[in-house]
């Protein structure tokens, strides 16, 4: 078994293509064929461009600037995923708690309770106890369950949980995809680039080579910068009003602890609010008042939606940072990849891939 590494393959492709072009150029003189002459000249130019791309891109990826960008972006996307995971776990645990409370039901059968006394009396008086038992069996129960008090909150949290499945899966896909691409940068010769250069060296596969090279450029050089921009955007939105917030904090990745994450204040406040309302035994009235913003609950909810509130933080952290911004990053990256591909000489349509994302 012999292993030809990707960098050797790229160089081999360029060399073989170069040799083929020279042979065709020679034959074009032999046959006095002007078409072949111009074709081989144009091919020679393309092979030469591929060689320049090989040198330039392999030099650029080893620059410290891009490496640190990539490390930071990787850390950031890991953070976004972990944050989303903790938020989902928080929702699951809170709904589980609510669900346990909701499942409590009390049953009372007054006839049976009275009958317990009567049965003992009938035993004393010698009456038939079986008839009494039949009466007890057919008597009605009074039952009360706590679920009506909890269900509005559970429904709301369940809906959020159902929607959270999509963004978390998508972030995971981002993480897996860029994990491979960004881990690959630790090598001197990344697979995607070398394969692209190899394919670009030949006429038939030039378009696909250009696609891979354009994807490589967009993923390695542009996408990390978009992630850093996203992070700065979220940090400004959430922390700008804090006194100690400075420009240096633009790309600061906060630590996540198990009990403190974007979801924690939101769900805790929701549950606390619910507990306070359950004590009044008037959830429906509380919701009505909340809709009109007249009650304390309404005020609390409005407060939570304000920029310093927990719902606002939750929505920004979980949906905007975890779903909208990464999606935007993919759109921009593929858009730029298309531009790069066009500048390399191929018009590649990434729309089907975008639809899949």
């Amino acid at each position: 078994m012999t292993l030809l590494t990707w960098d050797i393959l790229a160089l081999m492709g360029i060399t073989i293509s170069f040799l083929l072009v020279t042979v065709i150029y020679m034959l074009s003189y032999m046959f006095q064929n002007e078409f072949l002459k111009s074709w081989s000249k144009s091919e020679f130019f393309n092979v030469f461009m591929t060689l320049i791309l090989f040198g330039t891109l392999l030099s650029l990826i080893n620059l410290e600037l891009f490496k640190s960008n990539i490390d930071h972006a990787k850390g950031y996307i890991d953070y976004v995923f972990t944050n989303s995971l903790y938020t989902q776990n928080r929702i699951i645990s809170d709904v589980s708690f609510l669900s346990t409370i909701s499942s409590i039901s009390l049953m009372m059968n007054l006839n049976a309770m009275q009958g317990m006394g009567k049965t003992s009396e009938s035993a004393d008086t010698g009456q038939d106890s079986s008839a009494m038992k039949d009466d007890l069996m057919s008597s009605l129960n009074s039952q009360i369950s706590l679920s009506p008090f909890v269900s509005p909150f559970m429904t709301a949290l369940t809906s959020i949980q159902v929607y959270s499945f999509v963004p978390i899966t998508m972030i995971k896909l981002h993480q897996l995809l860029i994990d491979f691409v960004f881990n690959d940068v630790s090598r001197t010769f990344p697979l995607l680039l070398c394969a692209g250069l190899f394919l670009r060296a030949f006429k038939f596969t030039r378009n696909s080579g250009n696609t891979l090279i354009a994807l490589f450029i967009a993923l390695y050089f542009v996408m990390p910068v978009i992630y850093l921009f996203n992070q700065a955007l979220v940090n400004v939105i959430l922390y700008e009003e804090e006194e100690d917030f400075s420009l240096e904090d633009l790309n600061k990745i906060p630590d996540i602890s198990f009990s403190e994450n974007a979801g924690a204040p939101f769900v805790t406040e929701m549950v606390t609010l619910m507990a306070s309302q359950i004590q009044t035994f008037s959830v429906s009235g509380a919701w009505k008042e909340a809709m009109t913003g007249k009650s304390s609950m309404g005020e609390s909810l409005i407060e939570m939606v304000s920029p310093s509130g927990s719902i606002y933080t939750f929505v920004v952290r979980f949906f905007i940072e975890g779903f909208v911004l990464p999606y935007l990053a993919i759109i921009i990256t593929l858009g730029i990849a298309r531009e790069f591909a066009m500048s390399l000489g191929s018009n590649i349509d990434f729309s089907s891939m975008l639809r899949l994302v």
Partner: protein, 383 residues
């Protein structure tokens, strides 16, 4: 003139591809046959006949002083040259596919392992892992549903209190169920891709190459013939090569099975305590029972109660982690679930989509060189 000049190219490729089909096994692969050895005599005869025809045309043009006929020879020589290049490319391509496989380190030259066997192994492995993952996911849904549906309670004469101690299990089951649905769809997509891969390697599919060449000889069916040629070249040769490349991007071993709590381990101790200790105690002393119910309600809802403490400290997770439903272990489990799911989606949908874009570009260039502008991206998108 245009139709006539392509006839040699068509004849040569037709005889070559028929030879290719004949030397292929019924079931699988273009490998294990010596293509060059089988094809050289036929190709040589075809080339000689072509050159003979060209020389006849040249002589005829000269003798009859017909510049139009005389001019044909240069075009025909180009076509013969192009044919030779195409035959070399197809033969060389097959030989390469049968003796190399792509790894993340580079190109591996090996007699035992090749692109086809490598893809076959990866696809079967991916399908097996996906199905195992689906089954473990459904087992998880089952286990969490059992937990969620469990009821505990105390019943005295005329009074009872019932609750579901781990009813959150239902909620987790609801979270896992849609994942299972998506995984099952992914599994069928993988099965489709595998079947397509096997189909594209079969003898019957390879017959499309000579059929395409024949159809290409006639003006009316020329475009359709070009599509068939591009389809065979694209699906039988280039698709496996690019797919092999695409699979380098995923780590199938990272698909881990879902771990979940054993419902009976959790519920059995609870039910033993309730049936052997608590229930007889409350049946014997109904007054205690009534007091417990009242106290329970007070503890849950009154100020300073469990509810307030739990909500105030945000320690629901700790509370529930005693049932092994949440907590750090559940987070790790969720992480594994999403990692495995992401790998499956990446390998089933995302990578093939990328391959199709790259392959579509190659086939367009290739078919343009053959003489027909063919865009098979619409067909490939179905993959």
């Amino acid at each position: 003139m245009m139709d006539f000049k392509n006839i040699f190219l068509i004849l040569l490729l037709f005889s070559f591809s028929l030879n290719l089909v004949n030397s292929t096994d019924d079931k699988v692969s273009y490998c294990n046959i010596n293509l060059m050895e089988n094809s050289i005599p036929l190709i040589s005869i075809g080339l000689l006949v072509s050159i003979l025809f060209v020389s006849i045309f040249f002589m005829y043009g000269k003798f009859m002083s017909t510049p139009e006929v005389e001019g044909v020879y240069m075009v025909e020589l180009q076509q013969i040259g192009l044919t030779m290049v195409m035959i070399i490319l197809i033969t060389g391509g097959i030989e390469i596919l049968c003796s190399v496989s792509l790894t993340s380190e580079g190109l591996l030259l090996s007699d035992s392992d090749n692109v086809y066997t490598s893809i076959q192994k990866t696809q079967l492995n991916l399908m097996k892992k996906t199905m195992d993952y689906y089954i473990s996911l459904m087992d998880g849904v089952n286990a969490y549903s059992i937990l969620g549906s469990s009821q505990a309670g105390i019943t005295g004469t005329g009074l009872s209190i019932m609750y579901s101690p781990v009813s959150g299990g239902n909620f987790i089951a609801q979270t896992l169920a849609p994942l299972g649905q998506s995984v099952l769809i992914a599994y069928f997509a993988q099965a489709f891709q595998y079947a397509l891969f096997e189909f594209s390697r079969s003898k019957i599919f390879l017959m499309l190459l000579p059929i395409g060449l024949v159809l290409r000889s006639f003006p009316i069916t020329r475009k359709f013939g070009g599509v068939l040629i591009a389809l065979v070249l694209g699906l039988s040769y280039l698709y496996p090569l690019f797919l092999n490349f695409g699979y380098l991007f995923i780590d199938i071993d990272s698909i881990e099975l879902v771990s979940y709590p054993d419902p009976f381990d959790t519920l059995t101790p609870l039910s033993i305590v309730l049936t052997t200790v608590v229930s007889p105690l409350f049946s014997a002393f109904p007054a205690i029972f009534a007091g417990v119910i009242g106290g329970f309600i007070a503890i849950i809802f009154e100020s300073g109660s469990i509810m307030d403490i739990v909500d105030g400290s945000g320690s629901q997770i700790d509370f529930l982690s005693t049932f092994t439903l949440t907590g750090e272990s559940f987070i790790n489990n969720l992480d594994k679930i999403y990692s495995s799911f992401g790998t499956i989606i990446l390998g089933t949908f995302f990578i093939p989509a990328l391959i199709i874009i790259v392959l579509g570009a190659v086939v367009r260039s290739l078919s343009a060189s053959i003489g027909t502008e063919t865009d098979i991206s619409g067909i490939l998108r179905a993959i």
